[in-house]
């Protein structure tokens, strides 16, 4: 595995302060390696978007980073803690190094400008020296990258389908050739042919430009195929982190298993879909012990009382579950 480009250490994010604060992200340790595609999956409300915004300092109030650090290692430079950058440093960092495709971004295109204008404006803002013809060429190239016919460059956002708008946003994120690309549910509105196409192009581009991708989604099936590693989030914490193939073939955490059992399969015999019983935890009143225990079919003696730490079961796999605790696991 290549070296770390971004290291989250003990990151916690709250909404609000004091008694009524919602602890949306709790003590997260996560490393993004150079050139890697890291998947982040979990139910709605588990804190995935909050984690992404927290680590890039894009949190809107009342969101606050309650603790931890985010180390960024640019190639050949001293590591910097993103959370401690000044505003001016941050602006430079954000634009040149990371690009984000926000969840629901398809609704954030400017309705009064043509797609062409919006794309070329982004390029001009960051590379003012480019010529207009050059920018238009880049815009064309980006559109073809995300599978939109060139003649739609002249369209306004409302003239594009939902999936087309989503693809324009992906193209925009890649316009600046960033080091780290964060994508929050970027393909939820797309058919599988298109998803596969965009993801495999993304993977090829990252081989060419060596950027790392944090890919947030609740669609585990595609994630398993395209990411190198997957981290599963539940109630603000990472509960399992494994290489994709291991996670898919042999999920260790009962919650990961539940997520995988919630998909209708296209191939093979029709099987009963199990889903996950119960509902996601209330972040204001987290269950004691393992936060998953009220919904866990395998809960046993220690689960309601003690919280299982995220611990390694093998060099590449971490899980937070008493079923997999080794004798030297500490509370």
């Amino acid at each position: 595995m290549s070296d770390a480009v971004l290291e989250l250490k003990d990151l916690s994010v709250d909404y609000g302060v004091g008694e009524s604060a919602v602890h949306a992200v709790r003590n997260v340790d996560l490393t993004l390696h150079r050139g890697e595609v890291l998947g982040l999956a979990g139910e709605s409300g588990s804190g995935k978007s909050t984690l992404a915004y927290g680590m890039t300092r894009l949190l809107a109030p009342p969101g606050v980073v309650a603790g931890g650090s985010v180390l960024y290692n640019a190639a050949g430079e001293e590591p910097v803690d993103v959370l401690r950058l000044t505003d001016a440093e941050l602006r430079r960092f954000r634009w040149a190094q990371t690009a984000i495709v926000f969840q629901g971004a398809m609704n954030s295109l400017n309705p009064v400008h043509r797609i062409r204008t919006q794309l070329t404006d982004v390029i001009r803002a960051h590379e003012p020296d480019t010529r207009p013809a050059e920018r238009l060429d880049r815009a064309r190239e980006l559109m073809s990258l995300v599978g939109i016919p060139e003649d739609r460059l002249e369209s306004y956002p409302h003239q594009l389908s939902g999936g087309m708008r989503q693809r324009v946003m992906i193209g925009m994120a890649l316009a600046l050739r960033p080091q780290i690309v964060v994508m929050d549910e970027p393909t939820t509105a797309l058919d599988v042919v298109m998803q596969r196409q965009i993801l495999s192009r993304l993977v090829k581009l990252r081989e060419r430009f060596d950027f790392a991708v944090l890919f947030i989604t609740h669609d585990l099936s595609l994630l398993a195929e395209f990411s190198d590693r997957i981290a599963i989030m539940y109630g603000g914490r990472i509960v399992e982190s494994s290489p994709s193939a291991d996670l898919y073939r042999d999920p260790l955490h009962p919650y990961s298993r539940g997520l995988l059992g919630s998909f209708p399969a296209l191939r093979g015999a029709r099987r009963e879909l199990t889903g996950i019983p119960g509902s996601p935890p209330d972040l204001r009143a987290m269950p004691a012990g393992c936060t998953f225990h009220p919904r866990c079919p395998l809960a046993f003696d220690p689960c309601a009382r003690r919280r299982p730490p995220l611990a390694a079961t093998s060099p590449a796999r971490d899980v937070a579950c008493w079923l997999h605790a080794t004798p030297d696991t500490e509370d």
């Binding site: 599978g147 002249e154 003239q159 509105a189 495999s200 029709r270």
Partner: protein
């Protein structure tokens, strides 16, 4: 594809929508140019059946739903409710139509007004459609009944809530309850679950299936997830670049797709056996081709520039529907004369 069924509740024939485009780049576009969003679509929805409409992003699925719901005027074709032509706009017959045919949108965040409670949304829908009853008690009963149908119980717990206090799945259920307030015969559900995560998704889909059975609803289920069509729809229709290209019983269409585009769609579905970057590298996405322009759609079969089986005639002649089996049809020259695909499995 429903031989034993009675007549259709809602039917469309030759349904067409072209959006004019103006003032665009000189190279490709000229005066009178249009986006050919939907061309010659024929479909029929039956009581107690779910029909899935799957297809590429931008292929015209939402436009079909909007045309069926009369939210947009069609360029051509006919829509019939119980065999009667519907071309009315405004007036009592139009309101009656809107009551019978309800549309649920993809985005549960955008479809409810954030400043109003669940009670307000549902009460308003009941009033508009004249099902609010005459007394306060009858209204209360109607509200409880609606929330019960979408399994938001006890009702009191949800009535006072604002949309932002509900999860995505709960919001989508409120949107469904609001549609049911009209006591419709037809439910057009445009990607009702794609914004929801898997654990909630399953609940909403099961709910739709139960409702179809209890209320004998005819449901059009628009989705880009063909695996969910296999599980939840009786019949599946496949759309490509504004046209229907295949249709039939869901299990047949998903397990032995006939049209080359449907095969591409099925082959592209996530496959747990192809995990991680190593194996993945062999899959070359460039083989999958580009979606066509709808301003200047390809002549003949619109799939021909991407089709591995394209023949001479495919580039000039539009393929009509051919029977593939009693349970399936495809608009593809490979099935001319009813002969099975010479190319076999792709």
């Amino acid at each position: 594809m429903a031989p034993e069924q009675t007549t259709a509740v809602l039917e469309a024939e030759g349904l067409t929508k072209h959006f004019p485009v103006r003032g665009a780049g000189r190279d490709v576009l000229r005066r009178g140019a249009a986006v050919h969003a939907v061309d010659d679509v024929a479909l029929s929805l039956h009581r107690g059946r779910v029909t899935a409409l799957v297809g590429e992003s931008g292929s015209g699925k939402s436009t079909v739903a909007r045309l069926l719901a009369q939210l947009q005027t069609r360029t051509g074709g006919a829509v019939r409710l119980h065999g009667k032509d519907v071309t009315v706009h405004g007036g009592r017959r139009f309101r009656a139509y809107c009551r019978s045919v309800q549309l649920i949108f993809q985005d549960p965040f955008a479809s409810l007004n954030p400043v109003h409670t669940v009670r307000y949304h549902l009460t308003r829908a009941l009033r508009v459609h004249g099902h609010a009853g005459r007394t306060a008690r009858e209204l209360e009963e109607a509200l409880t009944d609606l929330l019960g149908r979408v399994r938001l119980t006890p009702a009191e717990q949800y009535l006072a809530k604002f949309p932002h206090e509900l999860s995505g799945g709960q919001r989508q259920r409120v949107a469904i309850a609001r549609a049911l307030a009209a006591r419709p015969e037809v439910l057009l559900a445009d990607e009702p679950v794609s914004m929801l995560d898997v654990s909630i998704r399953l609940g909403v889909l099961n709910l739709l299936r139960d409702l179809k059975e209890q209320l004998s609803l005819a449901v059009l289920y628009i989705t880009h997830d063909i695996a969910s069509a296999r599980y939840f729809a009786d019949e599946t229709l496949v759309m490509y670049a504004g046209r229907l290209v295949e249709g039939g019983e869901s299990e047949t269409v998903t397990q032995s797709p006939a049209h080359p585009y449907t095969r591409l769609l099925i082959d592209s579905a996530p496959d747990p056996e192809r995990i991680g970057s190593a194996q993945r590298a062999e899959l070359d996405e460039d083989d999958l081709g580009e979606p066509p322009s709808l301003v200047t759609p390809p002549a003949g079969c619109r799939f021909h520039p991407r089709c591995p089986h394209a023949m001479e005639r495919c580039t000039t002649e539009l393929p009509p529907r051919f029977e593939v089996s009693g349970k399936q049809w495809a608009a593809c020259w490979l099935y001319d004369n009813g002969s099975p695909a010479p190319a076999g499995e792709s």
